[in-house]
Amino acid sequence: MLNARIAGIRKLLTSSSVVAAGFVLLTSLAAFGQEPIKIGISMSVTGRFERPAGYLFEGHKLWEKHVNQRGGIQGRPVKLVFYDDKSDPAEAIKLTRRLATVDRVDFLFSPYGSELTAAVASVIEELGVPAIASIVATVGPWQGKNAKWMTQFSSTAPLYLMGSVDLAIERAEAKNIAILYEDTPFPVGVADGLRARAKERGLKILMDEKYDKALTDWSPLVSKARSLGAEFLAGGGYYPAAVGIARAAAGIGYRLKLLALVVGAADPKFVKDLGLLAEGVAGSDIWLPSVKTRGFVVEGATIANEDFVRSYREEFKRDPEYWSAAGYGAGQLLARAINESLKRARKADRNLIRDFLFSYLGETIYGDYGVVKLGQADAGMQVRKQHFVIQWQKGKKEVVWPRELASAEPWIGWPK
């Protein structure tokens, strides 16, 4: 009697352990197959770039969420791995190495902005990790560098305000321009574009002045422009400069045919800070919530820009900025690349993905994408992304240039 019971218990134990082992084996196999694809980011949580990097990161995070909600790329989930680089280049380099060698990420999104990305560019090339520079507006990391691993997702600084020159000439009939800009890499690039375009179209450059980033009062410089008789003032720096220049100009009673300022003027806060004074100020947008773009999510599914905007608002309780769209769009591009690789080689192969990034011509919710091909001197540099000149009209941001995509007629003369 007892023997039988013992035998029975033994059988039960044996069979349940077999089942358990099988279960563990199956789940571990399944987990193996579902090992997440890791994407590393050195993110500026603190420091100078905190605000734009915050938006950029939210774009990445929303993308991660959307992809995983739909079961991942070919069944594999994605995971963002990030650390704070404190907006410091040395930290960014160290963290990039950490992500590549310790966390063993499969791909990298660049840190925010030109300075940090320029610093990590050589490390990325050395480590051979495919990377996308989501928001880098200068050409430093690509021009003449024959890059092999990182492509430029966003557009370059010179293109930002170029359209405003055309707008000023063709619609405002401006005869001259005053270029005023901050002496740091990005605004200098923007000014380069303005200068080149003005020269190309024969617009007289009355003033071409850069100012130190520690400047807090723009009235002397704006007065200079006025005393030289400038009808069109363009350039700027970051947010405080846009507000400061507009206020300085209004404060001295300066009347212009067109005022075009980079970065700040496109920020929704601009109209809140300046109220009526913002009416008629032009800026540059590289992406707008109203643009009718779409992009890849997972195989067989795309998402429209307006849906991105809506989900972003729900998730983060604030409106997305173009940095957010860039973060999300970069994710879309990467997803496409990973998808192709998984389909063809059954794994996320670095070389296949890199080849895709360098050769793909297509669209994400951010806009068009296309870079200089591998093997050329400027390989990886963005060449297809378009820009919009926007203008505040009746408290709303309208696209006024290029004409084909304009949502409203441009207003001439400022202040209103």
Binding site: T46, E50, A214, D217, P220, V243, G251, K272, D273
Partner: protein, 289 residues
């Protein structure tokens, strides 16, 4: 003639910008004079004053000058608290201690502001129309800021000259031991002066949302220039700080217009070095024993 008129216009405008520097520098000088502490976190008091002003405007539409009635007391008590909890412990210690302590406070205040207020820039427009004064155009808000700063500075001088506590402050900054021997409670004086210094910075800050752009890191834009002003005017000398603030504001404006903004910024720092070499105590201050 036109050139001369231009020059005067810029000089006057610079004077108005300088009024803000003057307020900040007076606060710094006051704190240093009494405690021999260089408050590296002074810029953060400016920032906090700005946020008080901004939120007062957002919720009650109260103009920045009236909101000073809230900003200054708030910053005063905040300053007193900081002094009592932290600064008091490093009084009398070598300067590295107070420098580092204030740096630590500065970091915490900025980070705290970032968490509480978000890094988004804030501002609002107030009286942004030009006013014709003696043939030149000046933005109205600048005139108001200048006038208010003059009133505050004057009130401060009156306070220091005529009231008991004001005299106590002056006594302690001139000779700490003798003042104590006379029965003045140096600790209370220190708390009072730190509070006043903070209130002055807060007053300067109340105008930042109107003049510039308010964000948690805005203090850093002003602190180094304030140091330049204090050095020129003399650490510990309030009238020196006041005049130097106006002077440097003017100089900054003129150089930016006639030369370049780089040169204007460089002037601040070159001035610090030159003044410290020629007259280590500053233009009006006493040489340190």
């Amino acid at each position: 003639m036109g050139e001369l008129l231009n020059l005067i216009e810029f000089a006057l405008r610079g004077l108005m910008v300088g009024a803000v520097y003057a307020l900040m520098a007076m606060g710094l000088s006051l704190i240093f004079g009494v405690m021999r502490v260089v408050n590296v976190a002074h810029g953060e008091f400016l920032m906090l004053g700005g946020y008080v002003s901004f939120f007062t405007w957002s919720y009650t539409q109260l103009n920045p000058i009236a909101s000073l009635l809230i900003a200054m007391p708030v910053l005063f008590f905040f300053g007193v608290a900081i002094q009592r909890l932290f600064i008091e412990r490093v009084v009398g210690r070598p300067e590295l201690s107070s420098l580092m302590l204030c740096f630590g406070l500065s970091i915490i205040l900025v980070q705290g502001a970032q968490v509480l207020f978000t890094p988004d820039p804030r501002g609002f427009t107030w009286l942004l129309y030009p006013v014709r004064l003696l043939g030149w155009n000046f933005p109205m808000y600048m005139l108001m800021i200048f006038a208010t700063s003059m009133v505050i500075a004057f009130a401060l001088f009156l306070f220091l000259k005529a009231t008991r506590w004001g005299k106590a402050i002056r006594a302690v900054s001139q000779n700490y031991e003798v003042a104590q021997a006379c029965g003045i409670d140096a600790r209370k004086v220190r708390m009072l002066s730190f509070g006043c210094g903070a209130a002055l910075a807060g007053a300067a800050g109340a105008f930042v949302p109107v003049q510039f752009s308010l964000s948690p890191g805005v203090g850093h834009e002003f602190i180094l220039k304030s140091f330049a002003v204090v050095v020129v005017g003399g650490l510990g000398s309030l009238s020196g700080a006041f005049l130097a603030g106006l002077l440097l504001g003017m100089v900054e404006s003129l150089i930016t217009f006639y030369f370049s903004s780089h040169l204007a910024q460089l002037t601040f720092y070159a001035t610090i070095i030159v003044v410290l070499l020629l007259r280590p105590g500053g233009l009006f201050g006493t040489t340190e024993t």
